[in-house]
Symmetry: C2
Subunit: 681 residues, 2 copies
Amino acid sequence: MTITTPDTHKTTPRSGAIDQLAIDTIRFLAADMVEEANSGHAGMPMGAAPMAWTLFSRHLAHNPADSAWADRDRFVLSAGHGSALQYALLHLFGYGLPLSELRRFRQLGSATPGHPELGHTDGVETTTGPLGQGLATAVGMALGERMNAARYPEITGHHTYAIVGDGCLMEGVSHEAASLAGHLGLGRLIVLFDDNDITIDGPAGQSCSDDQLMRFAAYGWHVARVDDGTDVDAIDAALTAAKAAERPSFIAIRTVIGHGAPGIEGTSKAHGAPLGATVLRAAKKNAGWGDQRFVVPAEVRERCAELAMAGARQQAAWTRRYDTFEHASPVRCAEWVRAQDRELPEHLEEILDGIETGIDRATRQTSQAVLAAVAAQMPELIGGSADLAGSTGTVTGQDAVSALDFAGSVIHFGIREFAMAAVLNGLSLHGGFRPYGSTFLVFSDYLRPALRLSALMRQPVVYILTHDSVAVGEDGPTHQPVEHIESLRLIPGVRVFRPADDHETIAAWRAALRHTSGPSVLILSRQTLPSLESADGTEPDFLTSTGARVVRQAEQPDIDIIATGSEVHLAVEAAVALHARGLVTRVISAPWRERFAENSGVFGRAPVVMSVEAGTTLGWQGLTGTNAIGIDEFGASGPGDEVLAHFGMSADNIVRRAVAAANAHHSAPHDNDQHPTEGNS
Amino acid sequence: MTITTPDTHKTTPRSGAIDQLAIDTIRFLAADMVEEANSGHAGMPMGAAPMAWTLFSRHLAHNPADSAWADRDRFVLSAGHGSALQYALLHLFGYGLPLSELRRFRQLGSATPGHPELGHTDGVETTTGPLGQGLATAVGMALGERMNAARYPEITGHHTYAIVGDGCLMEGVSHEAASLAGHLGLGRLIVLFDDNDITIDGPAGQSCSDDQLMRFAAYGWHVARVDDGTDVDAIDAALTAAKAAERPSFIAIRTVIGHGAPGIEGTSKAHGAPLGATVLRAAKKNAGWGDQRFVVPAEVRERCAELAMAGARQQAAWTRRYDTFEHASPVRCAEWVRAQDRELPEHLEEILDGIETGIDRATRQTSQAVLAAVAAQMPELIGGSADLAGSTGTVTGQDAVSALDFAGSVIHFGIREFAMAAVLNGLSLHGGFRPYGSTFLVFSDYLRPALRLSALMRQPVVYILTHDSVAVGEDGPTHQPVEHIESLRLIPGVRVFRPADDHETIAAWRAALRHTSGPSVLILSRQTLPSLESADGTEPDFLTSTGARVVRQAEQPDIDIIATGSEVHLAVEAAVALHARGLVTRVISAPWRERFAENSGVFGRAPVVMSVEAGTTLGWQGLTGTNAIGIDEFGASGPGDEVLAHFGMSADNIVRRAVAAANAHHSAPHDNDQHPTEGNS
């Protein structure tokens, strides 16, 4: 092989010539992409190209021909704005990403969106861009590897690599995730810090003085520094040492943002804009590069093809191990396959049907009964709580994982809601698991950015959010959700279930487990709720079919009350009182309100329609106008039943409002009898 | 003074007898409160009583007779679940908190809610409970002290103390806040870590292995350890050393949760429940305490009264300095008073009126013009960005603060959205400042928990949230808000303004600056928007009066289009096209939708009413039913105008939807002509 060494470039002596050529190819592919799009981030790829190339060419076990290989090493570009770096690598190594897509960088419908997006680009393991989350998701993947290795050691053993920037490390979620990784001793997690000392607003030193190595050492990580981020051999040696360490590894690699771009390298000007034709031309000239765009030297293409072949051989070796495993342990192997395919255990329906119903208890308690029963039969159902296991009902009777033993199914996430959710995403993305996590509903705010990514990535993570209203009581407004149920419904692709009793809680779990292409949220009560029989012979699948069921039937009702969760039994109580006053009232429980809204025609509609939910009314107004009973202010500290009554969450208040609405309706006979959302359509 | 030393208690020799008596008083007051309420957290107060007592009796400069003394030391109980500890102290030192209120712990309407709440209890500096935020808010207070000291050194010089628990330190926001405090060298911030090694779910070591001292050292803090958390003199010495340090201080104090409660001390059983009558009786017996509840020995009351008098003398000394200052520098003093009182500068209206209008530009750019003009005349208007100063338009021309100089008005928050918001709360609570912060709208998710506390505490923090729709373009769905505008509107007490042009942006800033009892959110565009004249001779105050203005008037309109922000000019364009088709169309810009919804009657209502906003439609359905045009799915990466058109944010699509709605209306003559929210009322 003939290597064309660029003659004018200050080559790093210790790097081989092919390495330098490949690195320059990556740099200029990335810079060309940004220039072509006239949008994007060229500086990060130019600085981080050597570490990324070293990783991909000397360490990463991957097979570009099969990006779904279960035991591949995972690579996460946590500094997702550097997407052009990842696209250049994926193209060079022969993933399904042609040069034509690199030319369409950041265009609508391209395989090269502005930030890496799962499902858009072959080889992208997770959506990144919201800073810090890539790192936390990588922790989840690394945990997934260890948990899978404990179950299937014959066919599991890979690394998880992440490249992070200053932004990732300043974000709080990096603390939560790194602390958890250190605690669990995730030795196969290796984080490369693109230490370029630049943020969008200027030198990183303008806002941060952390000693990152000391910080990660405090988390129990193996730490190392590479002073010259262009020194491929030094990076290589640091990676080799990191793989040998039994703890997670953090390697700070000093780089220059916009490396080689005259006049702007090493400054924040190189961060978030194209280099511009003049600078790019000068950078290419200095590197002995031609003026054309999207150049890939034949030697680089050849080298990458060799490396891809080596990756294919690695997978082939793994496949032989897999075949042996399948032959030796067909039952365990079938279990592994089932979990990988997100197929439910055959006996799931039996398990769910076997859970005792007709019991008055908190929906969090029914949820715990479901979780305990299912977890015992569904080893891929794993998860835990952000230090509220007892309160949220996630004590399943299964063992917890620890640094010494990953065979358990329970994860003590600690008081780290955000990292919990990102780790759940990582576990789900790793494959082989159906993860769940839990906290109080009010603290869903803390994990919201990761829940959004669950939805964007369509990962079937189950969120168990309990203590779902002001009924929390004494802990007061900081612990009482008001706006949270509605705010979760707003996130596209999130299924929000708020069951009213034990029947509906089981139905919600059934729906959540069957839903494999997006997150489900279970909104559960702290307080005991009565078990309510369906009045309409509802099928177990009512939740996914219509989202609702009639819990108090009425012929030609004067009033419909739609309620959710802990307010349904109040509505039933109110309906009985209204009946005594001559107002025929039907009660519909709508645990999945969005599905009900789409299907409300199935139920018909009484002249007066009201809703009751112990939270903000804004999202109900399309269904029930001003007849939405709820709580549009912050809660208060006091015994739960007193607080509920104080905020109008009582049968008495529902009766009062219903009578007023019925009177208003009768006094305005030409008023709207229509479904408001059908009003002007 | 006669000291009754409890004879059976294992007294710590180095603690004076009065100290021990006071500590036991605090412990049992707290335990009695929890017992009486049958709800709450007794373990934390029992373990942390010695450090709290040492702080209050030997270091805290405060005057219980005047909790509003501007130069008082601030005390933040970040581990807010230990509220009983704070209430016991406030009672003993003579704040306006009688024993009768301690007996009403956690009752509706009491001054002793479950977690400390600003405004409910004299002497409580901030609402705590959501873990980690107390620490971050304390950082803001400590920063406020430094910034105030740079402006008014004659009358400023106090410390900020916080007690934090394991939970606070595991939360990501603790990282962001501690890193920022270290960077800024906030030497008057002293954090006491109640190192009791217990979390709700069990031993802290179950989920965390951080070396906290090394971690805080990595942030540049002074760190120290006290091995015996009952050793008052050791705690005292550590506090003295911390005050001498020029860096923020972190003191880890080893304690025993539920100290002295037989059988449960040192376990998670002591965390979140009453001790129970038996255990409490035994604990009291061991301490030589009587069986009665709410006992305060006379010696303790006397000692606290002496200490309170000493605090009053400290304030008196400060008042003399203040008088000197007032005499020597009446103008500066008047400025200080004005800022303390949150009064606006006299010339604010002139400044706002002087900003050039009629310019087509991004609303973020108009906002920058406002900010630059106002900041130059309103020194208490301080703030900055989470590393997006240029993008969000918060470059004001003022200097930035640094560890070396706090005279500036700009804060480089770094990539720390959550801590930024909590620090803004702290700055506002400190007094003397009107703080603002900025980031992209999509990342409001990262700071949401602190924005909620801004609202709960009614702090006039201004949030500048830009890049407010899919028009963000190439950065793709991770950077494109969809659900965010509506989700912010859901939080009680948050004013969400989405101006359509330069006039409305100035109006939004005017409204935000005038609003002194709650947060305001400015939702601003990345892209250029045309300046739109009002069609109805709207007053500058339209935003706070009706929340909306008519930008295209029409006599007896067939259609009303209500729009916000960047969609208003599209609505105007559509109205022109509709007019050409014979459909008379009025366009209302509603930058404050909630205020408009309350006042929509002022505007009357066309037979067909539509809305346009580039975000989720759920919150609009109460106003416009199915005629809400918006985006109920995640965005996509591509040039902004293409992405907008792809998701139907175009005049053409509005015309198409309007024609369809008008046709549907005519074919259903008996259909609803009413305002849907008035439907059944």
